[in-house]
């Protein structure tokens, strides 16, 4: 257990509205080892984003627990979880989520600055260089195309050298060509830094580029398999 980077135990999320309850995640157990790459797939509304949010400590589970790098997230305060994210977690979102009032470079600098590190400009620029946007460093997100924005967001995700990277449909808002370019970038950088990758996607082709595919439906894991292995029903 202590060797895994991410582990969920009987993770359950229930939304209440009035007297109705909606079980979005039902008793989910996942274990991911350091350096693994893994895809979460499933139909829309099955709870993928919810699972991702819980794993990253963005939300609190109704029951069950999440261990991130050995730390039990539900025992932490909101600010302590933020600290954990800053130390160990990187994010790539479907809708890029750059801060619109900051330049590309500044967006990449923020995670480092949040750690209290000084003179981060050079490192951030180096990352922008890697995603091929060094010359656009002073542009605001509104001045960049969607693909370019996602590249900045990838640079930002790797800037704090995270142990685990969460990506929620990173290519969902992009055309095929740009999408595959972004995919390549993510996998390349990931390999280089040997980061753990947890990626939500609809794209089975993309999912197959990871080592492991977790399929969920109606809030339950219905299938979990290693890529290039024969399909095996879970339990």
């Amino acid at each position: 257990m202590t060797t895994s980077i991410l582990e969920t135990q009987a993770l359950t999320k229930i939304y209440r509205s009035g007297d109705k309850t909606l079980t979005v995640l039902d008793n989910v157990n996942v274990t991911i080892q350091p350096g693994d790459t893994c895809a979460i797939v499933g139909p829309s509304g099955s709870g993928k984003t919810t699972l991702l949010g819980l794993c990253a400590g963005l939300d609190r589970a109704s029951s069950g627990s999440v261990f991130l790098n050995g730390v039990r997230l539900d025992e932490l305060t909101e600010d302590q979880r933020a600290e954990v994210r800053n130390q160990y977690v990187g994010f790539i979102f479907q809708s890029f989520n750059l801060m619109p009032s900051l330049t590309a470079l500044e967006n990449v600098m923020v995670p480092l600055e949040l750690r209290g590190e000084k003179n981060v400009g050079k490192r951030a620029l180096a990352l922008l260089e890697k995603v091929g946007l060094a010359e656009r460093k002073n542009h605001y997100p509104a001045q960049l195309s969607g693909g370019e924005q996602q590249r900045v967001s990838i640079a930002r995700a790797f800037s704090n050298q995270p142990k685990i990277l969460f990506a929620d449909e990173p290519t969902g808002n992009l055309d095929e060509e740009t999408g595959s370019h972004i995919e390549k970038l993510i996998f390349d950088l990931n390999k280089e830094a040997s980061t753990t990758l947890v990626m939500v996607t609809h794209d089975m082709e993309l999912a197959h580029k990871t080592q492991r595919i977790i399929q969920i439906k109606g809030g339950k894991i219905v299938q979990e398999r290693l890529v290039n292995e024969s399909v095996s029903a879970r339990r």
């Binding site: 977690v89 801060m99 619109p100 600055e113």
Partner: protein, 843 residues
């Protein structure tokens, strides 16, 4: 926390928002400006009063008495050394023989060189001293203008006619206002006797002005030498330091009050700030959520925007201060009628510092209300586009902030008013007004939703429902515009109330002219003149002056020495003007006891009737003994009854009423009350009386009405000037919120246009929406004004309140129209651009 990083982030994030941030803060600029201007002006005035204190008194010491000083006292004054000047003053009629004009004035007969400090400003200036050498008079400038007299003409005072030496426009220690109430006419003291006016029954003031050598300690001299010697005399002292304190306090009260008016403008502005920041923060939710995803803490997000707002608060306050410094140059002109000194404007660093400090603190406190929500923004928001309302738990820090705001308002008003109850009253009043405005706008919205006119056309329905769409600014606009409207309208109502109250007394067949100081032997002749002019003798009352000798057998002096006694000095010292008759009149109602109208034989006990308040002040009840000194004769009486008096009527009313059969032989004078309808008859009648009986004084109610009108309109001009800041603040908030809601409106209008709405339709929807908004605000404001004025009328002025409809209509129309115009000015730029273009502009 890493503060330099927060600063850096605040700076970076502000780059694209600066003009908007400034716009938020523009709504506090005027409030700060008013505050700084008033404060600085107040400081300047205090300074002036301090440095010019001697000129306010004109002397080092003034001793004043209601009786002539005894020769032994005069000798004592002589022994004090220094210079002195004597003055005898009283109200009397003067007559301008040139055209027969007559007017009640304050005759001031002086000897010596008063004023020793400052000067009597006269035209020609030499007249201020030269009139003292001969039988000459120095007459109030306005009075001369009114009666078309010029220096060289003459004025008849009592039995003597004085050539007019010059006009006087300023006297040490008096403001334009006090001079217009009692216009002064100076004559040399040596001619007073010959006027024959010293036999008057009415009050005469005797004053001695002293000037001591430069190094003399006046307060010490007064305490160690003068006061012990004069304990037996009924005198009043006025020293420079005392006058300084009195006047200082008066103007401190005035500036305190005006400061509060300015503060209200500031509070309105702050509500505007809170509302703009609220919208601003809504747009920042995504950024904050991303920051939290990346590991930012709740307080870091808050910190970034707190810094931005604080910086803007500082800039707004500085701008306001700058404006205030400029505005204060207008104030001396504005207050000119009220000031006893000329105020020179200098910078008051205290006022400037206070303005900046108050501005930053209060705007931050208000901005904190919406800003605090930042701490609660969930990082999950970054993952899901829609904003989810996470557990809206009770935010205690928010409560603390609200508490701090109330505390700040109470503290500030206490500093200005210096009375805890007044400060509490002010704070409570503000709170109540806010609650009413909030309640009413909430109720209206609720009513609109509840009884939504489903049958109306699309444009009407859309504009109505815009009032309660998410992020609407209905409440804020209703509060700021409504409070502004309430202020102005209340002011108008109260001004009318004051004037009406006076006018009421002069209406119909109510008396409007009072002749007093009539001597017994003149009584019949004056009644005859009155009847000759076809005027009614409505009341004719004898008046006997007396002093209190003892209460319940304890002499006045004993009571004064008794430190446990609660009886106030004015009750013991005052001169009682008493009448006698056999019955009560219609302005009097018996409270307790029985009225006995006649004393049959000199052996019988005398049962008098006291006004119930004075009976309480004397500490006497029915059957208690009260002893009077009737010009030398000691007279024991008993309280037979107490009465309530309706002071509202023009009638001679008396605190002490004697029965018939006691005072008939005492020295007395008479008052006659009549009613004159035409101004010409009034003038002729007064002239006839004064020509024959120059000692008789006449109060013309119409004249008083006119003077009062002047005063009231002067005061209300000052208040209107101050209220102006609130109004304009309301407009600035309106403009601000219109601009801030622009993005929201762009989206709306683009949406509407894509589904086929025409420009005209969109414009109509917006115009109607602002019409509803303006109407709601204006009506609420008028409602509060009506409520407030009714309360004032009922409890403060005790007159019926019947508001006129026209001003209500005018303020309603004006405010509503203004709201529509400002609102539409923004919409035009939206609908005139193609949809795509407006959307592309910053997101």
């Amino acid at each position: 926390m890493n503060y330099s990083w927060l600063l850096k982030m605040a700076w970076r994030d502000s780059r694209k928002n600066r003009s908007r941030l400034l716009l938020f803060m523009s709504s506090i600029v005027l409030g700060i400006a008013a505050l700084v201007a008033i404060n600085s002006f107040g400081d300047n005035m205090q300074q002036e009063i301090n440095s010019e204190a001697k000129k306010l008194l004109g002397a080092d010491l003034v001793i004043e008495s209601r009786q002539p000083f005894a020769p032994s006292v005069i000798d004592f004054f002589d022994s004090l050394g220094g210079e002195k000047s004597e003055e005898v003053s009283f109200a009397s009629m003067v007559l301008f023989p040139k055209n027969g004009g007559t007017r009640l004035v304050q005759v001031r007969a002086i000897s010596g060189d008063f004023p020793y400090y400052g000067e009597i400003e006269a035209t020609p200036q030499t007249a201020s001293t030269s009139f003292r050498q001969e039988q000459r008079a120095l007459v109030d400038r306005t009075l001369l203008l009114q009666y078309k007299a010029t220096p060289g003409d003459s004025v008849k005072i009592g039995n003597l006619t004085f050539p007019i030496e010059g006009s006087v426009s300023k006297v040490p220690g008096e403001s334009e206002l006090t001079m217009s109430v009692a216009p002064p006419v100076f004559i040399p003291l040596s001619y007073l006797e010959a006027t024959g006016l010293l036999q008057k029954g009415s009050r005469i003031n005797y004053k001695i002005y002293f000037k001591f050598p430069e190094n003399a300690n006046v307060d010490q001299l007064l305490e160690n030498t003068i006061e012990p010697r004069l304990t037996a005399e009924e005198v009043r002292y006025d020293t420079v330091s005392e006058r300084k304190r009195e006047i200082g306090e008066t103007y401190e009260n005035l500036t305190g009050f005006l400061n509060l008016v300015a503060f209200v403008a500031l509070l309105l502005g702050c509500i505007g700030v809170a509302s703009s920041v609220h919208i601003y923060i809504k747009e920042k939710v995504a950024s904050v959520a991303i920051l939290r995803c990346l590991g930012g803490k709740g307080n870091q997000g808050l910190g970034i925007y707190l810094i931005q707002i604080a910086a803007m608060g500082l800039i707004g306050s500085l701008l306001g201060t700058l404006l205030g410094v400029l505005v204060q140059f207008m104030l001396p002109e504005l207050f000119s009628g009220f000031l006893p000194v000329d105020v020179t404007i200098t910078l008051s660093w205290r006022a400037i510092a206070q303005g900046v400090l108050v501005g930053v603190i209060i705007s931050l406190l208000f901005a904190l209300l919406p800003l605090l929500a930042i701490r609660k923004i969930s990082p999950l928001t970054a993952l899901r586009a829609s904003f989810t309302h996470e557990h809206q738990s009770r935010d205690y820090i928010r409560m603390v902030v609200i508490g701090l705001i109330i505390l700040f308002v109470a503290g500030f008003s206490f500093l200005q008013l210096e009375e805890p109850e007044d400060a509490l009253f002010f704070t409570g009043g503000i709170l109540l007004a806010f609650l009413i405005l909030t309640g009413i706008s909430g109720l209206m919205i609720w009513l609109i939703r509840r009884y939504f006119p489903v049958g109306w056309s699309y444009i009407w329905r859309q504009s109505l429902s815009n009032l309660y769409r998410p992020n609407n600014q209905t409440l804020v606009l209703v509060i700021t515009i409504g409070l502004g409207t309430a202020l102005i309208t209340t002011l108008f109502f109260v001004q009318n109330l004051l004037l009406e109250k006076v006018a009421l007394t002069g209406r119909d067949n109510q008396p409007n002219m009072v002749l007093f100081d009539i001597q017994s032997e003149q009584k019949e002749a004056i009644a005859d003149i009155t009847r000759d002019f076809d005027l009614p003798v409505m009341q004719e009352v004898p008046i006997v002056t007396m002093r209190l000798e003892a209460i319940k057998g304890k002499s006045v002096n004993q009571i004064k020495e008794d430190t446990t006694s609660h009886i106030s000095r004015w009750v013991l010292n005052r001169e009682y003007r008493v009448t006698y008759r056999d019955s009560l009149i219609d302005s009097e109602t018996l409270v307790e006891g029985k009225w006995q109208g006649k004393v049959q034989s000199p052996q019988d006990s005398i049962f008098i009737s006291l006004e119930d308040d004075i009976a309480e002040s004397m500490g006497v009840g029915i059957g208690d003994q009260v002893t009077f000194n009737v010009q030398g004769a000691i007279m024991d009486t008993y309280v037979g009854s107490t009465r309530k008096i309706d002071w509202q009527r023009v009638q001679t009313n008396f605190l002490v009423l004697f029965p018939e059969g006691v005072l008939e032989r005492a020295p007395k004078f008479h008052v006659l009350i009549t009613r004159v309808d035409s101004a010409q008859v009034a003038a002729d009648y007064q002239q006839a009386v004064v020509q024959q009986f120059p000692n008789v004084s006449i109060i013309d109610l119409n004249l008083i009405l006119k003077t009062l009108n002047d005063i009231v309109s002067k005061i209300s001009f000052v208040i209107r000037f101050m209220a102006f800041f609130s109004i304009v603040t309301g407009i600035v908030v309106l403009i601000g919120s219109v601009i801030i809601s622009k993005y929201q409106r762009i989206q709306e209008s683009v949406l509407l246009r894509t589904i086929g709405a025409s420009r005209k339709q969109i414009l109509s929807i917006n115009a109607l929406e602002y019409f509803f908004l303006g109407s709601l605000a204006a009506l609420t404001g008028v409602f509060i004004a009506l409520l407030g004025s009714w309360g004032l009328a009922r409890f403060n002025f005790e007159t019926p309140f019947s508001p006129s409809f026209l001003p209500i209509l005018i303020s309603y129309l004006a405010i509503t129209l203004m709201t529509i115009v400002i609102g539409l000015s923004n919409t035009r730029s939206i609908v005139n651009n193609p949809p795509l273009e407006v959307l592309r502009k910053d997101t």
